[in-house]
């Protein structure tokens, strides 16, 4: 019998005869219950990506990380040990599974050419090369080595860079190196707006 089956209690002996006479089927009645769906999932500790409360979440993925298994997220639940959320989650955190598995996720680089009214698929290599070319051209064109007062400023006002508040500290640090290298002065993030 499957683990999910739940056994009804056998009928008491009294009255069984009568029931038989009336044609009752006295085979064990069973209730089929939903399986406990996360009994063997793989648990990964993470942090909710939405607000700054930083609720601990546990991501349940299908499979045991074996070589031949591709994990997919079947459930996300609060981390009961996390001191701040203690297992609780708001409606957004409670539905993180549907963010991770969202059918609307982007899965290929696209480009919209000047004047065009549609996206075109593009390979990663072509996209990176195209972007790098734009960045270089703009920087070469707009680079200000010295300002109007003759002070060395080494900046590239032709380019602006925003974002990072939804990504890791490490990403943000790399991003700072990126803008420092390119001399981007126009830099902002959600910290301001």
């Amino acid at each position: 019998m499957g683990l999910t089956r739940r056994t009804f209690v056998k009928a008491g002996t009294a009255g069984v005869g009568g029931a038989v006479a009336l044609g009752f089927d006295l085979k064990e009645a069973r209730a089929e219950m939903r399986a406990f769906k996360i009994s063997r999932t793989t648990e990964t500790r993470s942090t909710c990506p939405y607000c700054a409360v930083s609720c601990g979440v546990i991501i349940h993925t299908l499979g045991d990380k074996a070589k031949n298994a591709t994990p997919s997220v079947v459930h996300v639940e609060g981390d009961p040990d996390h001191p701040i959320n203690r297992g609780t989650l708001c409606p957004k955190g409670s539905t993180l599974r549907d963010d991770i598995n969202n059918p609307n996720r982007l899965t290929s680089p696209k480009v919209r050419r000047p004047g065009s009214d549609k996206w075109e698929d593009i390979s990663w290599d072509a996209a990176i090369a195209g972007i790098a070319k734009h960045i270089k051209e703009t920087r070469d064109k707009c680079f200000v080595e010295k300002n109007a007062k003759g002070q060395v400023v080494n900046r590239n006002p032709g380019m602006a860079m925003i974002g990072g508040c939804t990504d890791t500290n490490e990403f943000n640090f790399l991003q700072w190196k990126f803008i420092t290298a390119l001399g981007v002065p126009y830099r902002d993030s959600q910290a301001r707006v």
Binding site: A52, V53, S72, I84, T88, P91, H134, I135, T138, T168
Partner: protein, 829 residues
């Protein structure tokens, strides 16, 4: 955060989420934490349940927070300064403030030089031509001989901060508060009484605020009011106290710490400006000097600035940074003026800007990682028109967002025709939180490592890989072709094991910092503080001679030789106060409550023995990680170690719009300023002047409007998540029932809201939760709507961008737009 830094020394949430449970009074103002931070808000509920704490909600709308509050007070949007200065006045008048604390831990006794004055809504030092203040007019009185501050412990000197404050707030009587804020006097007095009940050693109160304060043209001063009030009540640095900025993005704190804005480098070091041509100039300008020679000297922690900066430069430029070349200082881009959000898009729209007296190009290319400026920025029409001027745009995202498809925005957004938009747009599929590891820093400054659960979907890449690959490709071009300032690009250190997809653990190690060469112990030259290559453990090990490397001094201690502290997951809390020192890592130095020295009196005994922040045990400070030298005797240093004067600032000469807050109306003012009709809005607030920057007048747009988030949604992100769009199935406008009745608007019917910038339509939600306001004797209406709709979400979730109606006006300190108060008119659609 500028206001907290100006008041306390650091710009971040002072306490922690769990610590809210220690409060006796929780004031939610300028924020709706039940709606926006439900899981953190639980600790306010916990305080209610376990300590009978009083929860107060002051908000233009009766919100989800108000629904569970003990006290709800309506307020007209944008008038929080008058309200709070009213409470400060009440506290001073009724002596319901923590006098011992104020004398010990604030600059209340400090005497201000006579150049400071305030008259008819203008502080001294105002330059009407520039629209700016000369802040030197607000200086402390200095004793020229001893170079020290003049202090009056009795608080009676008429030029001392306390007396000046008393005089300044004297106008904010309960009657005046009612006149300005529309709050019934009785309600205001009830709130004032409960809030000031914490103005003593026995009780503690906290303030929870968020963007309801920040996003005003006087946002910084609103927060300043909260910070001042908490100083006055003696609630800063104490468990259950503080001014708690509830931040809205998972890593908004971390991004800010990591130079997410143009004006700072990692660790809140200042972005060098053009006049500071050498490292020496820069360090001299940036490192504050201690003026104080009183008994209470300051640690003036910023005196270590050169160590932080040089170690950062070593991290940025690696071996290329040498003492001889100023550690590469000259390669850093220098700024002239403002490059923040509003200027990015204004200069983009204009195509150029004036810098140091010369014309320079505006941005022709934009890279955005996980950010949707079309949705986020005010005045969407201008946003879209600005983007249309770009030559190229790179959008790195998990979903298709409005910004990526700005070129096919609906007609009403006023952009050029698609065929005329010459922007080349790249949309790169990135990865979600579950698909990468790394740390987020929460609102309470906790860095917590998260582990990767699965790979990004086929076809997408992690953000760090995308960034690295673009960087490497550009660097390769400069290697091959050269170009202006090529060395700046080539000199940046990118020494990761896998440069095309840096391991985030490796990056975190770099952020924490390490010794490059052996660092001998200055006390005992035979010993080493750190051997070459070892991870640093604390701030004290940083050097300014290039022997240490540190990506962000604030995070020092997060990844030591003992391992990745952000991965710690012990739920142990021996303090019982919710500090959890063994869980993750909290900057600075794993300290959970900032300024905790202020939780104790002059002898080092806690104000409240049941809620010990730190206390002096005769040898050292124990409890939380002390926010002071651990073995410094009580009396040796002030509690606010980041401020040169060592105390919290009731009078803060650091901000651009005045040392004291003053009530000003929003840029689109619904009424004249009752206090000084000639100076209605802040004299130093910033507006823009392009053809897209139009502002409404109260005669044409008589209704006050505000925008906000809903708990069911997250910004412009969850508009792609069906299970959430189901919960809030359509854009709506909240309208007071009496106003709806007057206009014949039925609940559930369509209405049109217009500002000077355009109009939007939505479903009317007629409610009692917004009520008629009597402001200066006149009837005034407030309405509001949430911001989660747009044209890129699920088909059933498309709706107007809330920011279509918001103005390009901003705070003069943080340059944060005024999303929370603007003028509209309302009609049946």
């Amino acid at each position: 955060m500028a206001s907290l830094a100006a008041t306390f020394g650091r710009g971040a949430m002072t306490n922690g989420w769990v610590d809210i449970k220690n409060a006796d009074v929780v004031l939610c103002m300028g924020g709706n934490p039940a709606e926006n931070h439900p899981c953190g808000f639980k600790w306010a509920i916990e305080a209610k349940k376990t300590r009978n704490a009083k929860l107060i909600s002051v908000d233009p709308r009766f919100t989800r927070t108000s629904a569970v509050a003990d006290l709800y007070s309506p307020i007209r949007a944008g008038t929080d300064i008058a309200y709070l200065l009213g409470i400060i006045r009440y506290a001073i008048e009724t002596k319901r403030f923590h006098e011992d604390y104020v004398k010990l831990h604030t600059n209340a006794p400090y005497v201000i030089a006579d150049k400071f004055a305030f008259d008819e809504g203008i502080f001294s030092g105002f330059d009407a031509g520039k629209g700016e203040y000369d802040k030197t007019a607000w200086a402390y009185e200095g004793d020229p001989k001893s170079k020290s501050y003049v202090v009056d412990e009795t608080l009676e000197n008429p030029r001392c901060v306390f007396q000046l404050l008393k005089k300044h707030v004297d106008r904010y009587t309960p009657e005046m508060v009612e006149k300005i804020c529309g709050t019934p006097k009785e309600t205001f007095l009830k709130v004032a009484e409960v809030v000031t009940s914490t103005g003593n050693a026995q009780r503690v109160g906290t303030i929870l605020y968020a963007l309801g304060w920040t996003q005003h043209s006087v946002g910084v001063q609103m927060i300043r009011c909260g910070a001042m009030l908490q100083l006055l009540l003696g609630n800063v640095g104490r468990p259950g106290g503080g001014v708690n900025a509830l931040r809205g993005h998972s890593n908004i704190q971390g991004a800010t710490d990591m130079a997410g804005t143009f004006e700072i480098l990692p660790g809140y070091l200042k972005t060098p400006s053009a006049p500071l041509q050498t490292l020496k100039d820069y360090l001299e300008g940036a490192t504050p000097t201690t003026l104080n020679k009183q008994a209470w000297a300051s640690m003036n922690y910023w005196q270590n600035y050169p160590k932080f900066m040089v170690s950062l430069l070593k991290s940025a430029y690696g071996k290329n940074a040498t003492k001889e070349n100023d550690f590469g200082y000259s390669w850093l881009p220098k700024v002239d003026g403002n490059y923040s959000w509003m200027y990015i898009f204004d200069d983009m729209y204009r195509g150029s800007s004036m810098r140091a007296g010369g014309k320079e190009p505006g941005p022709e290319g934009l890279v955005t990682f996980g950010m949707n400026p079309v949705g986020i920025g005010p005045n969407s029409k201008k946003m879209i028109s600005a983007l249309a001027k770009l030559k190229w745009l790179v959008v790195v995202e998990n979903y298709e967002i409005e910004t990526a498809i700005f070129w096919k925005a609906p007609k009403e957004y006023g952009g050029p025709e698609t065929a005329k938009i010459q922007t080349e747009v790249y949309q790169l599929p990135a990865s979600g939180f579950a698909e990468k590891d790394g740390t987020f820093t929460n609102s309470a400054r906790w860095l917590q490592w998260k582990w990767k659960a699965l790979d990004p979907p086929n076809g997408s890449k992690t953000d760090q890989e995308i960034l690295a690959r673009i960087f490497l490709a550009v660097r390769e071009l400069y290697k091959k072709e050269g170009g202006p300032g090529a060395e700046n690009v080539l000199n940046v250190a990118w020494n990761y094991t896998n440069p095309a997809a840096p391991d985030l653990g490796e990056v975190l190690k770099e952020i924490n910092g390490k010794a490059i060469t052996d660092i001998p112990d200055p006390k005992d030259k035979t010993k080493l503080i750190r051997a070459a290559g070892q991870q640093l453990e604390n701030f004290g090990q940083l050097q300014d001679d290039g022997s240490t490397l540190c990506g962000n001094w604030l995070h020092l201690g997060v990844y030591t030789e003992a391992g990745n502290m952000a991965q710690r997951r012990s739920p142990a809390d021996p303090t019982g106060l919710g500090m959890f020192h063994q869980w993750g890592f909290s900057w600075p130095a794993n300290r959970r409550i900032m300024y905790n020295r202020a939780s104790a009196d002059k002898d080092g005994n806690p104000w409240d023995p049941t809620r010990v922040g730190i206390k002096w045990n005769g040898e050292k400070w124990v409890g939380d990680v002390p926010d002071i030298k651990p073995d410094s005797k009580p009396g040796e240093y002030g509690a606010f170690i980041m401020n040169p004067e060592g105390v919290g600032r009731l009078f803060a000469p650091a901000l651009n719009d005045g040392p004291f807050p003053e009530h000003y109306e929003s840029v689109e003012a619904p009424v004249d300023n009752v206090l000084h009709p000639k100076v209605t809005s802040s004299p130093v607030t910033k507006k823009f002047s392009s053809d897209k920057d139009v502002y409404g007048k109260k005669e044409d747009f008589p209704i006050v409007c505000t925008t906000y988030r809903l708990t069911e949604h997250y910004h412009y992100w969850t508009q792609h998540t069906k299970v959430l769009t189901q919960l809030q199935p359509g854009f709506f406008v909240e309208i007071p029932d009496v106003l709806a009745q007057q206009k014949g608007i039925a609940n559930g019917s369509k209405v049109k809201v217009s500002s000077a910038r355009g109009s939007i339509e939505g479903v009317a939600m007629v409610t009692k939760r917004l009520r008629p306001m009597k402001v200066d004797g006149k009837e005034l209406w407030q309405i509001g709507f949430p911001l989660h709709w747009g044209f890129a979400g699920l088909p059933e979730h498309t709706g107007p961008l809330a920011n279509f109606l918001t103005p390009s006006a901003m705070d003069p300190n943080t340059w944060t737009p005024e999303f929370k108060t603007f003028l509209v008119k309302l009609e049946k659609a």
